[in-house]
């Protein structure tokens, strides 16, 4: 039986800034493409929760962090180039 690996992603954004909005859209599309049937995508708006940035060691937005599976990985930018995202995070 194939074990379903849990995928947990967190995207740090800055309100409705254009790059952030684009990153959200791209992140959702990426997860739908690679992590079905199950994944968790968390979106953290630093404009609402500024302290979360320091706690999580975030310097710029947008930043996508793979919390699970370990080891954690970061992808910075709008996530427009899917090949790079696959390289960084690995596909499903």
């Amino acid at each position: 039986m194939k074990t379903i690996k849990a995928v947990h992603l967190r995207l740090y954004v800055a309100g409705h800034a254009p790059n952030s909005v684009l990153a959200i859209v791209n992140a959702k599309a990426f997860c739908e493409a690679h992590y079905l049937p199950g994944y968790k995508l968390e979106i953290v708006d630093l404009m609402d929760h500024p302290l979360r940035a320091l706690e999580d060691g975030i310097v710029v937005t947008p930043t996508l962090v793979r919390l699970m599976p370990k080891p954690s990985r970061k992808v910075i930018g709008t996530l427009t180039d899917q090949r790079q995202v696959v390289l960084a995070l690995g596909a499903g």
């Binding site: 800055a14 790059n19 404009m47 500024p50 710029v60 910075i76």
Partner: protein, 680 residues
């Protein structure tokens, strides 16, 4: 994994994250950076946009400014110029960076520029010449501001540059045009005068001062009224009032020359207002028309003479007819009296004798007298038309009398062409000059006649009418000629416009008539219908002064017998005067004034001396002055008898003589009455 390998992997991880961050930053994928001091995200886009927008705003201002903008560093090396400034100088913006101030500001201006920069005063404006790339000069106005560094030291300057070339050219043009105006004002043949609101002279040009015999500086500051005659002052007063109401117009007036003579002028005045529109005085162009008025009146007289000359043949005819009647009637009487012989009327019955005397003597005598009277009228008309301008006094004139004179003069022109219809309404006298008014009427009548072809006198009509129309005396001359075409009717009063063939008319007649009529405050108008005829209408103001009516001669009843001396070079006149006066008075007569003088010198006394004015050996004037030396009393008893044809000298002489003069021809009753009046 070893701890070291672990550490190494972590480091690599961090490094690649940093690289990715930088890459994302560069490619513009970053929205916000977390500020470690405020512990919050700082939105990058907002800050960038604001910076970019503000830069753009400044760039636009700098580049679209109409002024040149120029910055130099502490060593006076150009660090920036906006497009406007670079193009002013003929450079591209890139070319100017690094150019020293010394190659942009003209040499002569460099010390000033340096001092301006160093004085360090912001916003200081000065004029300066810059050097274009092609070496030509560019006049600019410069406003410079020093730039200080953080330490407060001079770090260069920013200058705003405005192109003054156009201003300068405009200023030059203004100066040139002012100079031109000054020249026009000073060289014009018209006088120019400006007065303030009180009428004080503010400015006069040379010409006006010359006209009045002054220097301009002698007139400035004086009341303008002091250079005018009383009439001129009245004209000016009314004109100043009109100027105050903003009216510009022109009028005739008289100024006073320094030597006391009158200068006839035509003035065109304009109100002067300041920039706020307040009335500050008036300006006038003054033209000396003394000479042109003189020429004009000469022209009028020569036109009048010309018409009399043209009519001379007709007038001669007019004189010849009655003259023939006079002669024939006198011959007839002489014949009758000569045949009397033995058939003296004494042998007839009283009734027969009365009938005989009435038919054979009185009737032809009356006819002769009537005919002679007509000759007298014609000669008087001729005299009226040939008066010189100096005798042209204005006064109350009887329109009908003048019209009658004119009709007699023109009768020969009229009678072959049309029936003459006179329709005289009762009108008051008009203020005019007889001769000039006669000239107008004569012109209108002759024109009317000449409009009608000769031959059908009974089917054509020339009608003269006089009537009073709402306070104005209206005289109309109507003809049944072909009429004037609408195309040319507006030109009939133009000088030199004529439809007559060469030699038929000067074309001045109606122009002069128009001038005469408007000069006395009247109007001359024309109305015409092609095929029906033409009406010329003169409308004149009523005379203000009542005509002085000459008291009719009263034949004296048993007057005093006096001793009378008659002096006349014409034997005929001596004989008739002796005949008229000899029965009532003691008459002594001589044809030689020198004999008359001898009589007076010998102590002879006379109650009256009837003296001719124009005599070949000694004139009446000379006799008068000689007798005055002998006895002023005797000189006062002189009455002059004149046949007209005056000179200026005789005219003023006669006006100084207290007693009225007797005009030839005279009638017996009138002569007796005058003599009797002075004998009492």
């Amino acid at each position: 994994m070893t701890p070291l390998a672990n550490k190494n992997a972590a480091l690599t991880q961090r490094l690649s994250e940093a690289e990715a961050t930088i890459e994302a930053l560069i490619s513009g994928q970053i929205d916000a950076v977390v500020d470690t001091r405020t512990k919050g995200p700082v939105l990058l886009t907002k800050a960038q946009d604001a910076l970019r927008a503000s830069e753009e705003r400044y760039r636009q201002i700098v580049e679209t400014a109409n002024e040149g903008i120029w910055t130099i560093d502490a060593n006076s090396i150009t660090t920036f110029m906006n497009g406007r400034m670079a193009s002013m100088l003929g450079y591209t913006q890139a070319e100017v960076i690094g150019l020293p101030l010394s190659s942009i500001v003209s040499k002569a201006q460099q010390p000033k520029a340096a001092s301006n920069i160093e004085s360090g005063r912001a916003g200081r404006r000065s004029e300066s010449a810059l050097i274009r790339k092609d070496g030509t000069e560019l006049w600019v106005s410069v406003s410079s501001t020093p730039r200080l560094n953080a330490a407060g030291e001079y770090a260069g300057a920013l200058a705003m540059i405005t192109d003054r070339t156009e201003h300068r050219e405009a200023e030059d043009a203004l100066r040139r045009s002012e100079e031109q105006y000054r020249q026009i004002v000073e060289t014009t043949t018209d006088g120019i005068i400006t007065v303030d609101r009180r009428g004080q002279v503010v400015f006069v040009n040379k010409r006006l001062a010359e006209m009045l015999g002054y220097e301009p500086r002698e007139m400035i500051g004086k009341p303008s009224m002091s250079f005018m005659t009383l009439t001129g002052q009245a004209v000016a007063k009314a004109a100043f009032k009109r100027r105050e109401n903003g009216v510009a117009d022109s009028s005739d007036s008289t100024f006073l020359h320094r030597d006391g003579t009158e200068v006839t002028v035509h003035i065109s005045g304009t109100p002067v207002v300041d920039s706020k529109g307040n009335h500050t005085g008036s300006m006038a162009v003054v033209r000396d028309v003394t000479e042109s008025r003189r020429l004009q009146s000469q022209l009028m007289v020569s036109d009048r003479m010309a018409s009399v000359g043209t009519l001379a043949a007709g007038v001669a005819h007019e004189i010849n007819n009655p003259l023939a009647a006079v002669m024939a009637n006198l011959d007839y009487i002489a014949d009758v009296v000569g045949k009397l012989g033995g058939n003296a009327p004494g042998v007839m019955s009283p009734a027969m004798r009365e009938t005989w005397i009435r038919d054979e003597i009185k009737a032809p005598l009356n006819d002769a007298r009537e005919a002679a009277e007509r000759v007298r009228f014609i000669v008087r008309d001729l005299k009226m038309f040939s008066r010189s301008p100096s005798e042209e006094l204005k006064g109350p004139v009887n329109v009908k009398d003048v019209m009658e004179s004119s009709l007699r003069m023109a009768w020969n022109e009229v009678r072959h062409r049309a029936r003459l219809v006179k329709n005289y309404g009762t009108v008051p006298d008009v203020d005019a000059n007889e001769a000039r008014l006669g000239q107008v009427f004569l012109n209108l009548i002759v024109n009317a006649a000449q409009a009608i072809p000769e031959g059908n006198a009974d089917t054509n009509e020339i009608r003269v009418t006089t009537r009073l129309d709402s306070g104005r005396v209206v005289i109309e001359v109507t003809d049944t000629g072909p009429g004037i075409h609408p195309d040319i009717i507006n030109r009939v009063f133009d000088a030199f416009f004529t439809t007559k063939e060469v030699g038929g008319g000067t074309g001045l007649g109606l122009a002069i008539c128009h001038r005469i009529v408007t000069d006395i405050g009247g109007e001359l108008t024309v109305r015409s219908e092609v095929g029906a005829g033409t009406v010329f209408r003169v409308s004149l103001p009523e005379a203000v002064i009542e005509a002085v009516t000459v008291e009719p001669a009263v034949i004296p009843q048993g007057g005093r017998r006096g001793r009378i001396l008659i002096v006349d070079d014409e034997d005929m006149i001596i004989r008739i005067l002796t005949r008229i006066l000899g029965k009532e008075h003691d008459v002594v007569a001589t044809v030689d004034a020198r004999k008359a003088l001898a009589l007076c010198a010998a102590g002879e006394k006379f109650d009256l001396i009837l003296c001719d004015l124009m005599m070949p050996l000694m004139t009446g004037m000379e006799l008068h002055s000689e007798i005055s030396l002998l006895s002023p009393e005797q000189a006062k008893a002189m009455i002059f008898v004149t046949g007209g044809a005056f000179t200026e000298k005789t005219r003023s002489f006669l006006s100084d003589i207290p007693k009225e003069h007797i005009e030839k021809p005279f009638d017996a009753a009138n002569l007796r009455a005058i003599v009797q009046r002075y004998l009492r």
